[in-house]
Each structure stands twice: as structure tokens, then as C-alpha cells.
Amino acid sequence: MEKIKTIMDEVKQKLSDVTDLGELDKVRVDYLGKKGRVTALLKGMKDLSNEEKKTFGAEVNKLKGFVAQKVDERIAELKQLEIEREIAAMPKFDITAPADLSRGSYHPITLVQRQCEAIFKSMGFTVEDYPEVVTDYECFESVNIPKHHPARDMQDTYYLENGQLLKSQTSAAQNAILRKYGKNLKENGVPIKAIFPGRCFRNEATDASHENTFFQMEGMMVDKDISISNLIFFMKTMLSEVFRRDVKVRLRPGFFPFVEPGFELDINCLICGGEGCSSCKHSGWLELCPCGMIHPNVLREGGIDPDEYTGFAFGLGLTRLAMMKYKIKDIRDLNSGSLKALSQFTDDE
């Protein structure tokens, strides 16, 4: 019995001395293992009388239970200690150090273009792609700008050696789009609703506000009974979506050969809200996009009967829009290829 008391004390002491689970397991084996000391006590019982066996056995079993319990307790303690040590070992990081923001970027025109495309896609317009090298017919003749028309003077066009040209306006796609979708309009009553963003070229000297290469987005809709009222609606809706606010628009007569009537569309200045500021030259308005009802000659040339169908068309300067949106002052930055300038534009939707 003395031994039991001794073992109990020993175990208490040893368990409190161990500091890791490996050592602790050794202590456990040392007492509770097949050759352990508690087991040895049981083995030493064979010499005792039955009465003694009974009493002593019960004591040893108690001891066994005691040791096992103490070991389990100590395991739990040590596990807890280990977690605490691990927690204590974790250094505090300096999250105020600048984050690594290295990532890709979109060209700002892509962002603005996508935004415009999304608006029109949501209203059932197709997005059309068109070549940059076009014929005189595509760019001028087919959109009611015959040879020697003064409108040709207004655009200094880049001509190629073979007589083709770099398109000076996205309108160069109008005829092809009217033809592409005209059949479906006439046979199945499916209205033509298309936008066609693209790069345009003008042979002019470049400076902070002039570029020989720039992006436009043109759009048109043709159906029975498309009206000026509809045109104003679409323009106002589009621009309100683009600028994410209720944009006030006003139309003024404007002369563009491919529309009749033709308009210049102004929006109330985004900077001053129409009060007048230096951005809008104190007029409160910004001239933003030419638009109008598609000229009957253009429809006719596209194989569509202007007596049966009407349509509207508009042009929007994507380059100008991107400059307005991101407050880019020098238009040449856009084609500069400079990552310092152009790597700043991440997804903007």
C-alpha cells in the first residue's frame, strides 16, 4: 500500500515535469505499459491471499485509473500549452506595408467601349465589328456623300495607294450592316438594332486634343415607325447610363449627309451641372454626339425602302468619352504605349 502511495506521488511529480507529449507517453508506458510499474504491482499480487488480493487489486485498479486520468489530464494540458505556444510564436505582421498590386490592365477605351456595348446589348442591339481599311463606296458613297461633296473636305481622309482608305468614320459600316440585317427586317419584321464601335483615322496634325487615330461608336436602329422621339429617348437613356446620372440632353440641327434631319446632341455639363464653367466654356452644355434620322438615300442604298422603314443613327466619340471619364488631358497618352500612363485602368464595371 505504501508503494501505491509512492507511485501516486511519483506520477504526479513526473507528469508535472514533462513538457511535451513524447515524454509524457514515456511516463505513461513506464507506469501503465505491459512492463510498467503499475502492471508490475498487479503481477506481484499472486503471492497474496485471496482476501488481500481483493483489497490490493481494488487499490491497484484505482491507482491505474488515477494514473490514466492524470495522464489524460496532462495530455490535454500539454495540447493546450502547445496551441498557446503556437499562438505566442505567431509574430504580428505589418499589414500597413503597401500591398502588392501588380496586375494587368485594360486600355481605357476598352473599358468605355464595353460599358457602352453593355448598355446597348441590354436593349437588344448587336455589336458589329468592321475593317479599318474600307472603300470609298463604304465610307462615303453609300452613306450619301457622293464625290465632290463638301462633307469630304470636312474630313481629311487617309487614302491608300490602291484607292482604298482608312475609314474616317464608323459610318463606313452602315451599308454593310443594313444589307446584313435588311433581309431579316423585310421578311421577318426583325428590327435592325446595331452598334459598331471602331477605330477611325483622320489625316491631321496631332496635339493634346487632336489625334489622327481615334475610336468612335456608331449605332443605328431601323424599323417601321422609328421616330425622332425614339432617337431622343435612346440618346438620353444611353448617356444617362454611361454617366450614371440623369443626363439632360438637347438637340440642335446639325448637318451630316447620312442623316436627315441631323442633329448635334449636347448634354448638360458634367462638371458644373449646367451652371457654366471653364470645361463647358461657360455655356453649361457639352457637344457630345451627332445623330439623326437615317437619310432615305442611305436606307435605299442599303436595300431598304425608306417609304416603309425609318431609322435613327448616332455617333459617339469613345476616345472623347474615355478622356472625359478619366479626366485624361492629352489625347496622345492613349496611343503612347506608355505603361506608366496606361496600366492604371482595371475593370471598371
Binding site: 494587368g104 485594360y106 455589336v127 479599318e132 473636305d153 491608300l160 436627315e260 434631319p261 505603361l339
Partner: protein, 788 residues
């Protein structure tokens, strides 16, 4: 073009109306008015007509004079004046004490020792001309002390209209046409012009005139003599000056005045030089001196006004020096004509000489104007110089008449086009106010377009819509969406792929999208040692550096990499842009939309970078097409391509594009220490490749089995060669093969290849896997690949 509200008010009574509001409406309904509106005379007050009563020289100054001036007060005023033209009895503009000229208030002040109580003003000082040579010499009989604004039209509202916005409106190139618009907008009458009745001279002899060329539509002329007046009336000069013209002399001013009033350019010849008017072109080029003294080369396409065979004026552009009115001219021949607009425009371009006259002729002027302009000219001439004498009958050849434009439409047409309801009365009233003849029968309109709108401007029904709606006011429109039926929209394949690729490149691979120009940048290429390859050129490039259209985006991107060296140790750029690769059988450009990607790295070696680019292309294709790209060694065709590791990129065995490493010669010029690799993919070819559909592969319930072998690979053996060794051996159960480790020593190149086996039907046995692997190892021996 500057416009004077005073002048417009000659023709419309604006009493009770807000002129500024009308100008705003004009801007919204007719043509854009520039923002700055000039309030002429608003900076001037207290200036009166005064008479110089005495002139004494200043005792110490040669320039200054001591004047006594009668400014209408009881006493004469002492003034010290530096003007050279002072004389006793002269009337001038006098700023009294307290007068305001701009920011200056006139106060009594000593000047060179004498008190000066006011200031005699030049015309420039009071803002009515740019004449600052002396003080204003008033010849009109006006009582001293009269406020100068009470006698002269100094107060005026002047606004500017952008010429461009008048391109299609020949009728708006004079105040009378502008007044018609204002009258329509204000709902007031347009007063008729005061004109001279020319019939009165029908009995006189006609001028010898003959139009010998169809480019002249109409030529009207009249001879006048005994013109005595040389200086124009002050009010006429003020109007001309406010509208941006300098006063010259009475006759020149009057032709200019007529042009600004009616839009009809006029010219006065010395009748001695122009007795036999012929309008024609010449067979051969020659040199002609215009009245500005400039010698100009005239070619066979330029229409000339001639005295028989001697050219005297370039039709519609400028008169000649020889036939100009000179001091001893007694009889003048007044020309008022109309020419073919395109011809005048082309001539001005050829001569590089644009005048106020040619600017108007280019717009297709109304030929009906010519005789009216003469009648008006004569009216004004007589008014200001009553002694003149008309010495010929109006001589008028009308060779080409524009067809009369009559249009019929009904209200339903207007409703359909506008989308709103504008009632018949408003339509009739609007069109009538603009000079259209209108008759209405029920809902049907018959409209006669006035001659001044019928030269090109209003020709179709849609043009009538513009007339109705712009006066109605777009601000007054009810705005509605369409009622068109809805159908699904199928997006364009190239565009869809382009968007996806851009997203992946930016978001997954961290590349930067840049834009560039469609032509080769000759100077920048040169700096990199890249020759500009033969390709179609611009015919009218103004800059030799941007003459040739590019056939690839890669050289452009190499220039961009050069621009950005120093931006970061590693970066990648891309562009979806266009190139021209040649000409088709119709001599039209073959244009392609390309995706170009260039990677630059100072930290990766060239192999790593090259394989990164390979992975980008593979991942993009796998993601969008669910297919695997393959490669084929390519021979270099451009100087910037490294001959080694140049590969054609293929999808479904069809060529997509190329990927390679920059040629060391070019690379060194960009950055000696960096690796640069590039790829260019044809967007159409990419879009044309069909997307494989996703086939769901149900995960196996049985454990997979991996089997690794490490092999030594001799030089020249590719993974693709090894792949052939297991292509037909793995059966259903070999799912994937990949490299899990690479081990290189100077002696050999070794890789560990993992074969992944699995079956959906059963647990695989080691024996069957071993059997397959044995065959594969055996096959590998055939290409001298042995286990390590």
C-alpha cells in the same frame, strides 16, 4: 460669321421680345451660336458730338494741340489733344468729363502743363472701327452735344455663328436670310427688302454679255456712273466692322454690305476694261494677277470672267487687278452672278485661296438672288449718293435654272417621323414662315420649296420634317421608347472571343492592354534595326514616318517594350489590332484582326519566359475552346524573329499564328539583359475554330493509381516524341501523363514522368498497370529514352 442684331432688326420687328432668348432659340433651331455674345457699345457712355472751335499749338510739344471744344454746353471746353488731324470746325466724338470708355472714366487732368477736360476720340477708341490714325471726323450735320449713340448705331448685340454649321444653308450667309429664321422663331413678319425697280431702265442699252460655259448659272449686270461718294455712311461702316470687315471705300463697302445682307457676292468692274463680258474657261494654264496684287496660276478648269478674251476676274473668287475700280473710273459695271458650287470649291482648293465670296458660292447660292441684289444695291447707292446715274438696262443671262422642288406628304408621314403629334395648322404656319408655299387638303400637304432652299438643301420629304421640327423645338418633344418587337441577338464570334481573351490576359496573366497605330513607325523601327517591310502605303501621308501600313503588330510592340524598359523588371503587353497582310485579286487590302502578346523579363530566363507565353496561349485556348493547341517549327520570315524556337501555333491542325523569341540583334537594342518573347494570333482563325463541348467526366469510385518513371532524355527528343510511345498503349485507363520533376546535370537531362491510371468500373491491379508500363518503357527505348 458675325451677325448684328441691329441689322437683323431692319427686317423683323422685335418689339417686346427678348433678343438674347431669340439668339438662344436660333442656336437650338437653326445654327450653333458661339458662346461669346458681344454687347457692342455697352462699355461706352458720355461720348457726344462736339465741334473744335479753336486749335492752338502747344508751346512745348510739337504733337500736342490746345483745343477749345463746343460739346453743347454753354461754355467751351479746354482739351489737350495729340491727334494729327485736328482742325477748326471739325466735328468729332468727344468724351466729356465723366464719360466711360471701357474701364476708363474721363476726368479733368493736367496734360503737359495744361488742363484737359475731356478727350477727343478716334473711331478705334470708341470701338467702331480699327482707325486710330486720328480723331473721328464726323461729316454728318449733327448738333453739338448730341450723344453719339443717339445718332450712330454703336449699341448692338453681335453674335457669331460657326461657318461649319451653315455649310448646307446657302440662304443663311447674309443677314436677310438669318432674319427670316428669327422671324419664324419669333412668330413675326419678315419685312420685304427695299429695292429699286429695275424695269425702269429696260429701255437703256444692254451690256454685251455672253455665258460661254455651263459652270456659270446666271450672270446679271448693270452699268452705273457718276458716283461721287467715297466714304461710306458711319452706320454702314459700323455694321461692316462689327461683322468683321474693314471699311475700304464707299463702293467696296457697299458690295461687301450687300454680301453680308443678302449673301450675294458682287463685284464692280471699271467699265472701260470690261465692255464685252464673256464667262468661260481657257484651254491652257496662265498666270493672272488678282486685285490683291498676287499672281495666281490659273488652269484649264478654272472659270474666268473675261473681257472678250482677256480674263478680268476669277469667277466667284476674286477680281483682277487690271479691271479694278480706280480713281478716274467714271462708269462701273456691277456683277451679280451664280456659278457651279463644286467648280468654285475645287478652284479655291487648287488656288489655295478662299474668299468671302467663294465661301458663299461653294454653298450653292440661289440664282434668283442676282437681280434682286442689284436692285437692292441700287436702292442703297441712290440713298447714299443721290446723283448716280444708271446707264444700262439690267442685263441678265439665266443659263441654268434649278428645278422647282415640290413635295407632297400627309400628316401620317410627319407623325411617323416625329413620333409626336404636331397639328396641321402649326405645320402650315411654320413652313409659310420659312418661305415655303403650302397648300393643305384634308391631311395632305403640297409644298413648294422656296428658291433659296431649293439649290441642294431641301430636296426630299425628310428635309421638310427638319423644317417643321426644328422650329417646333426639340426641347418640346415628348420622348418615347420604341414599340419594336423583340428577338434574340446572337453575338459576333470574333468579338466574343476577343472579350474573353482580354479578360483572361488582364485578370489571369496580369498583362497590360495597349493601343498603337495601324502604320509602321519608320523612325522607331529604325532605332531597333527593324526594316519597314514592303506593304501598302498611304497615298497622302504628311509624315514619312507613318507611310506604310503594318503587316504585323509585333514590331509595334517591340517599340512599345523599348518605351517601357524601366517601367518594371517584368511586364507583358497585348493588343487586339489590325494589320494588312497583302492584296487580294481585286487589289483590295487583306486585313486581319490580330492578337499580339509580348512578354519582357529581366528575372526569368528566356526559356521560362517562352514557356510562360506558351502556357498563356494554351490556357486561353483551353479555356475558351476546350481544346489543345499544337506547335510546329517555323522558318523565320521577319528580321525580328529569332530563328530558333520560332513556332507556328495550330489549333485543329489549322494555323492560328506564331510565337517566338526576339532576334538577338533587335533584342540587344531594346534591352541587353532582358528576355523578350512574342506571339501573334489571328482572331478570325481563332474564332473560326469550333468550341469543343464540355463532356462531364464522372469521378471514379475506384482508387486511381500513379506510376512514376524517371528517364534520361537525349538531345533532340521532345515530349511530343515520347508521347507517341504511350499514345496507343494506355487504353481506357491511362488518363493523364505529366512531368512532375526535372533533373538536369551537365551530363544528362532527366525528367520524372507520372502516368495516372484509373478506371470507373473496377479497382486496377498492379499487374495490368505494370504490363502497360513495361510496354511504354520498351517503346521509349526505341527513341533512346532509358530509365535513369
Amino acid at each position: 460669321m458675325f451677325l448684328s442684331m441691329n441689322w437683323i432688326s431692319d427686317f423683323v420687328d422685335f418689339t417686346g421680345l427678348d433678343k438674347l432668348e431669340l439668339i438662344r432659340q436660333f442656336s437650338l433651331s437653326t445654327a450653333e451660336v458661339e458662346n461669346d455674345i458681344f454687347f457692342k457699345g455697352s462699355q461706352l457712355s458720355g461720348v457726344v458730338v462736339a465741334e473744335i472751335k479753336s486749335v492752338e499749338p502747344h508751346p512745348e510739344s510739337k504733337k500736342l494741340h490746345l483745343l477749345k471744344v463746343d460739346a453743347g454746353g454753354e461754355e467751351l471746353t479746354d482739351v489737350v489733344c495729340g491727334a494729327p488731324n485736328v482742325r477748326v470746325g471739325m466735328k468729332t466724338a468727344f468724351a466729356k468729363v465723366g464719360a466711360k470708355i471701357g474701364d476708363i472714366t474721363i476726368e479733368p487732368r493736367p496734360l503737359a502743363g495744361f488742363m484737359s477736360c475731356g478727350m477727343c476720340c478716334s473711331e478705334a477708341e470708341i470701338g467702331i472701327s480699327d482707325d486710330n490714325s486720328g480723331i473721328m471726323d464726323i461729316t454728318d450735320d449733327i448738333a453739338n452735344g448730341t450723344d453719339i449713340k443717339d445718332v450712330y448705331e454703336i449699341d448692338d448685340i453681335v453674335f457669331e455663328v460657326d461657318n461649319k454649321s451653315l455649310t448646307n444653308r446657302p440662304d443663311l450667309w447674309g443677314h436677310y436670310g438669318i432674319a427670316r429664321e428669327f422671324a419664324a422663331l419669333a412668330g413675326r413678319e419678315l419685312k420685304p427688302l427695299d429695292v429699286e425697280e429695275l424695269k425702269a431702265y429696260d429701255g437703256l442699252q444692254k451690256v454685251d454679255l455672253k455665258i460661254e460655259d455651263p459652270l456659270c448659272y446666271r450672270y446679271s449686270c448693270l452699268q452705273v456712273e457718276n458716283i461721287k461718294r467715297s466714304v461710306s455712311p458711319v452706320n454702314m461702316r459700323i455694321r461692316l466692322y462689327y461683322c468683321g470687315m474693314r471699311g475700304i471705300n464707299f463702293l467696296a463697302d457697299l458690295t461687301n454690305y450687300l454680301m453680308l445682307e443678302m449673301g450675294q457676292p458682287m463685284h464692280a468692274f471699271d467699265s472701260r476694261k470690261v465692255g464685252k463680258i464673256r464667262i468661260k474657261r481657257f484651254d491652257k494654264p496662265f498666270v493672272f494677277t488678282t486685285l490683291d496684287g498676287v499672281e495666281r496660276n490659273i488652269d484649264e478648269n478654272t472659270l474666268m470672267i473675261c473681257n472678250d478674251n482677256t480674263p478680268v476676274a476669277i469667277a466667284g473668287i476674286m477680281g483682277g487687278l487690271d479691271s479694278e475700280i480706280v480713281e478716274d473710273t467714271t462708269t462701273l459695271t456691277l456683277e451679280s452672278a451664280t456659278f457651279d458650287a463644286a467648280s468654285i470649291r475645287k478652284s479655291t482648293v487648287r488656288l489655295a485661296h478662299r474668299t468671302d465670296a467663294s465661301m458663299r458660292y461653294e454653298k450653292s447660292l440661289d440664282p434668283e438672288l442676282t437681280d434682286v441684289a442689284i436692285a437692292r444695291f441700287l436702292n442703297l447707292l441712290k440713298k447714299y449718293d443721290s446723283g448716280i446715274k444708271v446707264v444700262s438696262a439690267l442685263t441678265d443671262e439665266y443659263a441654268y435654272r434649278y428645278p422647282k422642288v415640290e413635295l407632297s406628304f400627309d400628316k401620317a408621314f410627319v407623325d411617323r417621323y416625329t413620333g409626336i403629334q404636331i397639328d396641321n395648322d402649326t405645320i402650315v404656319k411654320t413652313l409659310k414662315s420659312l418661305g415655303f408655299g403650302v397648300s393643305l387638303d384634308g391631311d395632305s400637304f403640297d409644298v413648294v420649296v422656296p428658291s433659296w432652299r431649293a439649290t441642294k438643301d431641301v430636296t426630299i420629304k425628310a428635309d421638310i420634317i427638319e423644317e417643321i421640327t426644328r422650329i417646333y423645338g426639340y426641347d418640346n418633344f415628348e420622348v418615347n421608347t420604341t414599340r419594336s418587337p423583340l428577338y434574340p441577338v446572337r453575338p459576333d464570334a470574333v468579338k466574343t472571343d476577343e472579350d474573353k481573351i482580354k479578360d483572361m490576359l488582364v485578370k489571369r496573366f496580369g498583362l497590360h492592354e495597349l493601343h498603337s497605330y495601324v502604320w509602321a513607325y519608320a523612325d522607331e523601327y529604325k532605332a531597333l534595326g527593324i526594316p519597314v517591310e514592303e506593304n501598302i502605303r498611304l497615298a497622302n501621308a504628311t509624315n514619312p514616318n507613318i507611310e506604310t501600313i503594318r503587316n504585323s503588330i509585333i514590331p509595334t510592340q517591340l517599340c512599345q517594350v523599348k518605351t517601357n524598359v524601366g517601367y518594371a523588371a517584368d511586364f507583358g503587353i497585348f493588343e487586339v489590332g489590325r494589320v494588312v497582310t497583302g492584296m487580294d485579286e481585286n487589289n483590295l487590302c487583306v486585313e486581319h484582326k490580330k492578337l499580339a502578346v509580348t512578354l519582357y523579363s529581366k528575372t526569368d530566363d528566356v526559356k521560362t519566359l517562352y514557356l510562360k507565353l506558351r502556357d498563356i496561349l494554351a490556357v486561353v485556348t483551353d479555356d475558351i475552346k476546350h481544346k489543345t493547341i499544337t506547335f510546329e517549327q517555323a522558318a523565320p520570315t521577319h528580321s525580328y524573329e529569332h530563328p530558333v524556337n520560332l513556332n507556328t501555333v495550330l489549333l485543329d491542325g489549322k494555323e492560328l499564328g506564331v510565337m517566338g523569341i526576339v532576334h538577338p540583334e533587335v533584342g540587344k537594342k531594346i534591352d541587353k539583359k532582358a528576355a523578350i518573347v512574342f506571339a501573334e494570333i489571328d482572331m478570325q482563325a481563332f474564332a473560326d475554330a469550333e468550341n469543343a463541348s464540355i463532356v462531364y467526366d464522372e469521378p471514379s469510385k475506384y482508387p486511381p493509381m500513379d506510376y512514376d518513371i524517371s528517364v534520361i532524355i537525349p538531345d533532340g527528343v521532345l515530349f511530343a516524341d515520347m508521347a507517341k510511345c504511350w499514345l496507343n498503349e494506355g487504353g481506357e485507363i491511362l488518363k493523364n501523363v505529366r512531368i512532375v520533376d526535372t533533373y538536369d546535370t551537365p551530363a544528362f537531362h532527366s525528367v520524372t514522368v507520372r502516368f495516372e491510371f484509373s478506371s470507373k468500373e473496377r479497382t486496377l491491379s498492379s499487374a495490368e498497370v505494370q504490363e502497360i508500363m513495361d510496354r511504354i518503357v520498351e517503346n521509349l527505348k526505341g527513341i533512346e529514352v532509358y530509365l535513369r
